[in-house]
């Protein structure tokens, strides 16, 4: 145990001891300037009479007297000018007052009444009943129906102004504070019931809610003075008290996170039901014995609950248990004390346990708030952690995505570069090499050089135009080829007869495979120009057996008999890569080259 927690312990013990002792240290002021009477003649119902000093207890738990009469004597030298009043700080059995044989009151009961409450009395002593000299004031109480001993505190006789402050103080602390405490109890109960309604699976909330309901029902008995209708309920309400006591144990266990034995919950219900049934059938012992049992049950239960909490506070170093220990201990202590006081075992006039109930509830509520805050803190932490993880993951994903994209773009570029390199190598590269070779030849003819250079440029245009092609844009590629072909053929004096209206829609067109098709056609045209004196070249698109077909006819010489030329081999290779084929057939005059292509071109990456 650290120094700090040891200090905390010491402080806790000291504070609790101080509060527990407060009832003996703090006393309410007595009136000044009044005749104080603390010795009276007491006569019980058995007829015996003796001098006693006030405060005095009578009835059950004290002398067992069913009725008690206190005869106070005071002298008035002269009839006073002002009106005279009698004041008693604590009277718990609603006495009848008799002055010189004249009844003043027959024992009016305050609304707020109960076995553990008591009230002050202030009553006028009417001038008509007063006499000069010796006056006799009798205070008579009925103890019979009360479960605890009757109590009378010292009597004061004086003017109203002198007695009123003390009376008001008593009224406030004993009559008003108790209902206020009850009101606070109801308010706090509401909070707990809401918690239970929202989270019924939580055992703590369930225990607290049960306690609220049962103890509120038991408290109805305190209103017995309000209306006669409540009077009959009182025994039933009181029958709930042992169960209330047991609920304290349940709450204590729930707070420290322990579960009660399996038989514990049925016991609580059974106890309440049995006792109420007993009340209904009127088979229970006399009210005094019953009250003693109830009180004992509550006191023992709260003591057990306090021990449970103390045990967990000390053994389990449970902070919450530490926090609850104080209110539980004080409640238990004040109940024990009040029971003792009521039974005449301890000195004391004011009963304190009614005030402990809201304090206990407030402590419970404070603890619930503490738990709520702790939960929210944990939630925030969890959220923060989750957010951080999420952000980290996101950043990771973004980085990965970026990397992927860069890689993909890289791959596409590499592929495109490879294709371009190949295309340029196959086309323009070869032409340029030819041009250099021809130019180096001494006294060379410039015509072939020019032709090779034109072919190089044509091929470059082919490559460039095909770069921008989209899918299904084969007609566009073919039209570009046509545009290029027209001047070429015009120079050769050949007419071009072109129609692609019959060509079906071809999908899968990429720059690569469009270029391959154009090269096939270029080769076919070149062959037609090379082999024969063609005057017309007809190029048209058709559908043959579900295949896209481009037919190149020339009216020159037939060259089908020489299919081994490099040009033809290249044409066939390219067509095969596109999933198509080349057919070369002689015409009556000239040659027909038929290019058959699938409607959906494959994505040609190599070759």
């Amino acid at each position: 145990m650290s120094v700090r927690s040891r200090l905390g312990w010491i402080l806790l013990v000291l504070v609790n001891a101080a509060l527990a002792a407060a009832a003996y240290v703090v006393t309410l002021p007595a009136p000044d300037h009044a005749i104080a009477i603390d010795t009276v003649l007491y006569s019980a119902d058995d007829g015996s009479a003796r001098q006693v000093s006030l405060p005095h207890r009578s009835g059950w738990g004290a002398d067992g007297a069913a009725t008690a009469r206190y005869q106070a004597v005071f002298d008035l030298a002269a009839m006073p000018e002002a009106r005279l009043f009698v004041f008693a700080g604590v009277v718990n059995h609603h006495p009848a007052l008799i002055l010189n044989g004249t009844p003043l009151t027959d024992g009016r009961r305050p609304i707020w009444s109960g076995p553990l409450t008591n009230a002050p009395v202030l009553h006028e002593l009417p001038r008509t009943a007063l006499v000069t000299g010796r006056n006799e004031l009798t205070v008579a109480t009925e103890n019979a129906e009360m479960a605890i001993s009757g109590l009378l505190s010292p009597l004061y006789i004086g003017e109203e102004a002198d007695l009123l402050p003390a009376y008001k103080m008593r009224i406030f602390s004993q009559e008003r504070l108790a209902p206020m405490a009850f009101g606070a109890h109801l308010l706090l109960s509401l909070g707990i019931l809401v918690c239970y309604a929202r989270r019924p699976r939580d055992p703590l909330f369930a225990w607290l809610a049960a306690m609220i309901v049962v103890s509120s029902a038991a408290s109805v008995g305190l209103f017995a003075g309000l209306t006669p209708a409540f009077a009959g309920l009182r025994p039933y309400c009181l029958a709930l008290l042992p169960s209330v006591g047991l609920l304290f144990i349940g709450i204590a266990l729930a707070f420290v996170g322990a579960s009660p034995p399996r038989w514990f919950r049925p016991l609580i219900v059974a106890l309440a039901v049995t006792l109420m049934a007993g009340v209904a059938m009127d088979i229970l012992p006399d009210p005094h014995t019953l009250a003693a049992f109830y009180l004992a049950a509550v006191v023992v239960s709260i003591t057990v609950a306090t021990i449970v909490i103390a045990w967990h506070a000390v053994r389990g170093a449970n902070t919450e248990a530490y926090f609850l220990l104080s209110p539980f201990f004080l409640t238990a202590w004040f109940m024990v004390r009040d029971a003792g006081v009521s039974a005449g075992l301890f000195d004391g006039t004011v009963l304190l346990s009614p005030y402990m109930r809201p304090i206990l509830l407030a402590a419970v509520l404070a603890l619930l708030m503490h738990r709520l805050v702790a939960t929210l803190d944990r939630l925030d932490d969890a959220n923060e952690t989750l957010n951080q993880r999420l952000a980290a993951r996101e950043a990771e994903l973004t980085a990965l995505h970026h990397e992927e994209r860069v890689k993909a773009a890289h791959a596409v570029r590499a592929q495109e570069r490879e294709r371009l390199t190949r295309d340029l190598h196959d086309g323009i590269g070869g032409h340029l090499v030819s041009i250099i070779a021809m130019a180096e030849r001494p006294g060379s003819n410039t015509a072939p050089i020019e032709q090779a250079a034109r072919q190089a440029l044509d091929d470059l245009r082919l490559v460039i135009y095909s770069l921008d092609l989209g899918d299904r844009e084969l007609p566009l590629a073919l039209a570009n080829f046509r545009e290029r072909l027209i001047p070429q053929l015009r120079r050769a004096g050949v007419t071009l007869d072109w129609s692609m209206i019959g060509l079906p829609d071809v999908s899968g067109v990429t720059p690569g495979n469009a270029l391959a098709i154009l090269r096939i056609l270029q080769e076919a045209v070149t062959n037609a120009l090379r082999h024969g004196p063609a005057t017309v070249i007809a190029i048209r698109g058709e559908v043959t057996d579900g295949k896209a077909t481009i037919i190149v006819d020339n009216d020159g010489a037939a060259y089908a008999e020489n299919p081994t030329g490099f040009g033809l081999i290249n044409m066939r290779q390219r067509a095969a890569q596109l999933g198509g084929e080349i057919r070369i057939a002689p015409l009556a005059s000239g040659t027909r080259v038929t290019v058959l292509l699938p409607i959906a071109l494959p994505d040609v990456q190599t070759g």
């Binding site: 245009r461 460039i464 039209a479 570009n480 015009r490 120079r491 072109w498 129609s499 692609m500």
Partner: protein
Amino acid sequence: MLVDRNPLPAAPPQSDGTCHILLVEDDRPVRERMAGILSDWPRARSLTICATLAEALSAIAARSVDLLVTDLRLPDGNGVEAIRALRTAHPNAEAMVISALADDGHVIDAIEAGAAGYLLKDSAAIDIIDAVSQLLAGGSPISPGIARTIVRRLGDHAAKVPPAEASPPPNSVPDNERGRSLTEREMDILWGIAKGFTYAEIAQHLQISKHTVPVHIKNIYRKLHVNNRSEAVYEASRRGLIRL
């Protein structure tokens, strides 16, 4: 059969059919080759040869020009500038771009600046003269690739209405405006060319004369240029450069 709307007739360069030609090309062999081809052409009344944009601009300002044949990549600027200057100084003159590859983007820039045709630098002399003659006769060459690029630009923006408050970048052109000014027939022709059909196929499909197709194309070019210019004026006024 639908009656063709009469396209605007090409302005005759000179009363006798000859024209003043301005050639702008920085590469000397190409320049000399083109100069040779053009100067041999009987309809060339005069031929002014420039190697830079600055020379071209001063020539446009200084003398009468009926036909501008210009390269786009010049050492001191873009041939498009020369086309714009020509459009301002000589509204009836024709402009043609010469390009090694005739890639779509550059050619369309030139069309929007006011060019009505393009030539490949390696074209044979006969092809060059043929293209120039066709241009002066009111025809305009258009490649399928260029047609497709125009169609794409029109289509990309056809559904979008340009926001009134947003400030578009200086060169951005609300293409749907351009598209709107093209007639249905012109759009059909543009589509046909972009799809790779020949003029004959398009004419047959649309039931029009084969010879009117180039005229329609010339009109398309003109509208692209006019719209582009009006947008340039709008843009300039919006930016406070000129006051309308």
